[in-house]
Symmetry: none
Subunit: 220 residues, 2 copies
């Protein structure tokens, strides 16, 4: 077990290098010796929780990320071949799609109405019913993609429900941070500011249900 622990060092190193900080610089800021950082990164020693926590803070990375398997988080270049049906940058999914007149809607996977967001985020509509202010959709987050590049959180009336199909998604709701992985589900009052981010190396897919929202806002 716990190869998450075993690879913690290399993961730290990987992230540190990406951040462009030198080992000695880290050591200075964490107020520990450079040699110790080296030992940690090479798996020859393990930090205390306090040290690990400061380390994560310094790299401005949620601690959970450090336990994830490393991998080259390479973001898909904006290959928007295949004609995107629609391109919006909505504050949030209230009236992403128009409501339909049909009382029954059945949609097969290759036939979904698609919205492509700027940031590597897509929504695919899963049903088109007569209900307004309801969105039932599959959401996709490419590696590194996030709800809002600026780091702003969004909030809106209503409730939001999600189920993770594949990959990992870091969900921030208020000051709560959750890691969503396959099979995990959640629901929350979406008037609480929230944002999502794919911190993992693979794409994230999830089933999302948003309803009862009439207006959307963003908050720094």
């Amino acid at each position: 077990m716990t190869d998450a622990i075993a690879h913690l060092g290399s993961r730290l190193k990987e992230i540190r290098l990406k951040s462009g900080l030198s080992l000695r610089e880290i050591a200075r800021q964490l107020d520990v010796s450079p040699s110790f950082i080296s030992q940690i990164e090479n798996g020859k020693s393990q930090p205390s929780v306090a040290t690990l926590y400061s380390f994560a803070k310094l790299l401005s990375v949620p601690v959970d990320v450090l336990f994830q398997s490393s991998g080259d988080v390479h973001i898909e270049p904006n290959k928007q071949l295949d004609i995107e049906v629609n391109r919006k940058n909505l504050a949030h999914p209230t009236d992403a799609w128009d409501s339909s007149k049909a009382r029954i809607s059945s949609i097969n996977p290759n036939n979904r109405s698609l919205i492509t967001m700027d940031s590597g985020v897509t929504w695919e509509r899963l049903a088109a019913t007569a209900e307004e202010s309801v969105n039932f959709m599959e959401i996709n987050y490419a590696p590194g993609a996030e709800t809002n590049k600026s780091g702003e959180m969004i909030f809106h009336d209503g409730f939001e429900y999600g189920y993770a199909l594949e990959g990992e998604l870091e969900v921030t709701i208020g000051d709560l941070v959750l890691q969503l992985s396959t099979g995990h589900s959640l629901g929350f009052d979406s008037s609480i500011p929230h944002r999502f981010r794919n911190t993992g190396p693979n794409k994230f897919r999830g089933i999302w249900f948003v309803h009862g929202c009439h207006s959307a806002h963003t908050s720094a």
Copy 2:
């Protein structure tokens, strides 16, 4: 520094209590002494990262949560394995579960509240929010299982949305018959009489969302 570290113990205790596990039970599963757990929870000692990590895993909570100040997180109590939590034969999922007071609900796959129906049909709750008349769940139909043995159809106020994860499900809505397979989704006005049946050889799993229903009826 970082009162996040200082409060780590109490945070752990808080979450453990919510999960309904005893300190000794945790100790057994983590393979450490009960006294040590106590010391950790009371801030008299600090765990190693490995211990902390296993602790978080056991509580099925992302590590980051442990560093946050306490808040209203809803964690589904350890579903006492095998013993089915509840056994009902509801006409339909309106108030299958009580609403929760928590504003945020996160449930991990092994920890869901389960309702077993007579007919090889189970519902697993995916989120427990404050909303009433809302059910977000994973539904399971064993091969041959059906909504209603008698062949009756059901209808109720509101709308119903579904996404097929695995297997096949025959969906009858009014006089329309659909075959749902992986990735297929649907939504419909649930005042239209409907019923489901697993006609395939494998079990069916799907994500289901039902809301806005206040009364349920059956119709031959």
